[in-house]
């Protein structure tokens, strides 16, 4: 072992470790993209501020736990959970959210904040307050040896693959299909699209449902590597908004770039040593690194990296 004390700034024990950290950063970034993808649809494209996004992530995780427990298989829990959360999002839009499109953003914040409280309480009644765990499915439970002490779970790599798949399909649907065009047009000018004979109300309902299903999917997929616990959604919520703000409202591409940036900044912020003029900056301030990145990007491009100028 080489003593870390000799290492003052920007240095790693070896190049190998640097590569592994790079992998960690990219992997975390992809996971962040998955978690925030639902919010990209709902907030970024529809313009609805859904602060309960984290709650759907938590609900997804708890669904994975209870459905996998009931059915005995993660692979059954996954599709059932997606259908349930999508149906739930559909109902929610029909009963509550659609009344707020015409109103100020503040009403959306109030309503969805109320939903957080309702969901937390419902979670407590339905599933209790204990910490739960979900088994990694047998098929993906292996690990790859990276060094003789460190191995990398195959499940994490699978998550990355799912994230890329979700990103590619979102991009394709939004940019290359007629539906995507209608969604984007509807978000841009609701009345105009309506007058062209497109049922914007129904379209919004499906988009919202898809956004909720994506949040649920993220929770379900993250459940086996994370633990399932009360309030887990609140931890990801803020990062999700940071992703959208950095990437630019409504841009799937932007969300992807922002997620990767955040993943890398967070990872290297925790392990790099940075001292300027005797001030210890990293890793002491690693908790702030992501927000400093956001502030810097907003100064440079207030609309986000891929955002449209308004």
């Amino acid at each position: 072992m080489r003593p870390a004390a000799q290492c003052r700034r920007f240095c790693f024990v070896d190049f190998h470790t640097f590569l592994i950290q790079l992998l960690n950063g990219v992997q975390y970034g992809l996971l962040l993209f998955l978690v925030s993808s639902g919010l990209t649809l709902v907030f970024g494209i529809m313009g609805v501020i859904n602060v309960a996004h984290g709650s759907f992530y938590m609900i997804g995780a708890y669904l994975a736990w209870s459905l996998a427990g009931a059915s005995g298989s993660f692979w059954i829990a996954l599709p059932v959970g997606i259908v349930l959360t999508a149906a739930f999002g559909f109902l929610l839009e029909m009963l509550l959210i659609r009344k707020l499109y015409a109103r100020d953003h503040l009403y959306q914040v109030l309503l969805t904040y109320g939903l957080i409280l309702v969901f937390e309480e419902a979670r407590s009644i339905l599933w209790g307050d204990d910490v739960r765990g979900v088994q990694i499915p047998q098929l993906l439970s292996a690990s790859l040896a990276l060094t003789d002490t460190l191995s990398y779970p195959v499940y994490r790599l699978w998550i990355s693959a799912v994230c890329l798949l979700v990103a590619a399909s979102m991009y394709w649907v939004m940019q290359k299909t007629r539906i995507g065009m209608m969604i984007r047009a509807g978000a841009f000018n609701r009345e105009m699209v309506q007058s062209l004979g497109i049922d914007v109300a129904l379209l919004s309902r499906f988009v919202f449902a898809a956004g909720i299903a994506l949040a649920g999917l993220a929770g379900m997929i993250a459940a086996p590597i994370s633990a399932v616990f009360p309030g887990m959604g609140n931890q990801v919520l803020i990062l999700c908004f940071v992703v959208i703000v950095i990437g630019g409202m409504g841009s799937v591409k932007g969300a992807m770039v922002a997620s990767l940036l955040i993943g890398l900044v967070d990872t290297f912020g925790k392990v790099l040593h940075l001292e300027i003029a005797g001030l210890k900056l990293l890793p002491e301030l690693s908790g702030m690194a992501v927000y400093i990145l956001m502030a810097a990007i907003l100064l440079w491009r207030p609309e986000g990296i891929f955002g449209r100028k308004t």
Partner: protein, 402 residues
């Protein structure tokens, strides 16, 4: 928010009390002084992540009360309950509800250290008896200590120190990496570990920190793998602890680098993490299979009453009841004789399920720290790490009682 749970039994008691009070109205003074109830204010988390801990503490306290015939010092107890929501920003308002509005004689609370810090600031000024059944912040029995503030649980430093001493005796553990959340509890726990471990001539290879409550451990696990220490000391709790144990095992580190920590690393999460935590060693003032007769009786009574297995939090609530009972007995239930009441508590040796303990001069428990090892879903007792451990000497030196 006040939550008054008012079941039928309490209703009967209250109406019965009203009838008695009505009858006693003919003879005011004497009867009222004898019959007035002692008001106990419970400020605990009843919602949120820590809700099960709050419930366990209250259950333990009520079990001690029931075993004492429903009375302390010959007087009945009346409860006021406040849900502290583990929300430090509401701590002052919440504790003021108990102290100023309900005018309670004793405040019991709480779990979260940040909330407890807010409570202590109020109870210190008000002078009301305040018993802390969990929160391990050093200030409560350090710089903010006071005669009326009494802790029945632990200080964050204690379990860390216990684990440090245990590791310092192992010849093959020469360098250790510590990893913890960077906030008061994490820093105090790591300090305890270092104070215990460094005395044995070992070294700390690296201190790793995460902002609280960040649970993205992968980057730091990679660091641990590249440093290759002989052991890792980790401080996390609740959901974060569960995720850390799983990530540690999935990174394959559990095969080559032993993981140790304070008891909170493995308490309450073993069902969730399954095989990941097997063999993890921790130190705490309680274990799942202590050999005391007292503990066996307590576990049986608790399981019978609540249809639940007790945990360390239930024991802390129970001990709060035992200590309060001893104090009130000495003054025949007269809470106005506060000095004598506190002096009696200071002299009490609590015959607890965790083993005997007593208060230090700074009012923190002087207690045995046990070494435990995870086997199946239990924290199995392995031995005593440190006997009759007092708090961090540097913290005690800050306590100016008077």
């Amino acid at each position: 928010m006040t939550k008054q749970v008012f079941d039928r039994r309490q209703f009967l008691k209250t109406t019965a009390g009203a009838v008695v009070a009505g009858a006693g109205a003919a003879l005011p003074g004497l009867v009222l002084a004898q019959g007035a109830r002692i008001k106990v204010g419970l400020m605990l988390p009843y919602t949120g992540t820590f809700a099960p801990l709050g419930v366990a503490i209250e259950n333990g306290f009520r079990l001690a009360l029931a075993e004492n015939g429903g009375k302390f010092g010959g007087r009945e107890i009346e409860f006021s309950k406040v849900d502290d929501e583990s929300e430090p920003s509401k701590a002052t308002d919440n504790v003021n509800r108990l102290v100023n509005r309900d005018k309670v004689d004793v405040v019991i609370g709480t779990v979260h250290s940040g909330v407890a810090a807010g409570m202590v600031r109020v109870t210190r000024e008000a002078g009301v008896l305040h018993m802390i059944p969990n929160a391990g912040l050093s200030q409560a029995t350090g710089v903010l200590c006071a005669p009326n503030i009494i802790r029945t649980s632990f200080s964050n430093w204690q379990p860390g120190y216990g684990m440090g001493v245990a590791l310092s005796k192992r010849k093959n553990v020469k360098n250790v990496v510590t990893i913890a959340w960077r906030y008061a509890a994490g820093e105090e726990s790591v300090k305890g570990f270092k104070d215990g471990y460094l005395k044995g001539g070992g070294a700390i290879a690296k201190e790793l920190w995460l902002p609280f409550p960040n649970v993205e451990f992968q980057a730091l696990l990679t660091e641990i793998a590249s440093v290759r220490p002989d052991a890792v000391y980790a401080f996390f709790a609740g959901g974060g602890a569960a995720k850390f144990l799983k990530d540690y095992a999935q990174a394959g580190l559990n095969k080559s680098i032993p993981l140790v920590g304070p008891g909170f690393l493995t308490d309450g999460v073993l069902e969730a993490v399954g095989a990941s935590a097997q063999g993890v060693e921790t130190s705490l003032h309680y274990a799942d299979d202590l050999k005391f007769k007292r503990d066996k009786e307590f576990r049986l009574a608790y399981a019978k009453t609540y249809k639940l297995q007790p945990d360390v939090y239930a024991v802390q609530g129970y001990d709060t009841g035992l200590l309060l009972a001893a104090g009130l007995k000495a003054v025949n239930g007269d809470v106005s004789r506060k000095k004598e009441l506190i002096a009696a508590m200071e002299k009490t040796t609590v015959n607890s399920p965790r083993g005997n303990w007593h208060l230090s001069k700074a009012h923190n428990p002087v207690q045995d720290m046990y070494l435990r090892k995870v086997v199946g879903v239990e924290n199995k007792y392995e031995g005593v790490a440190v006997k009759a451990l007092d708090d961090d000497p540097s913290v005690m030196a800050q306590c100016k009682m008077g």
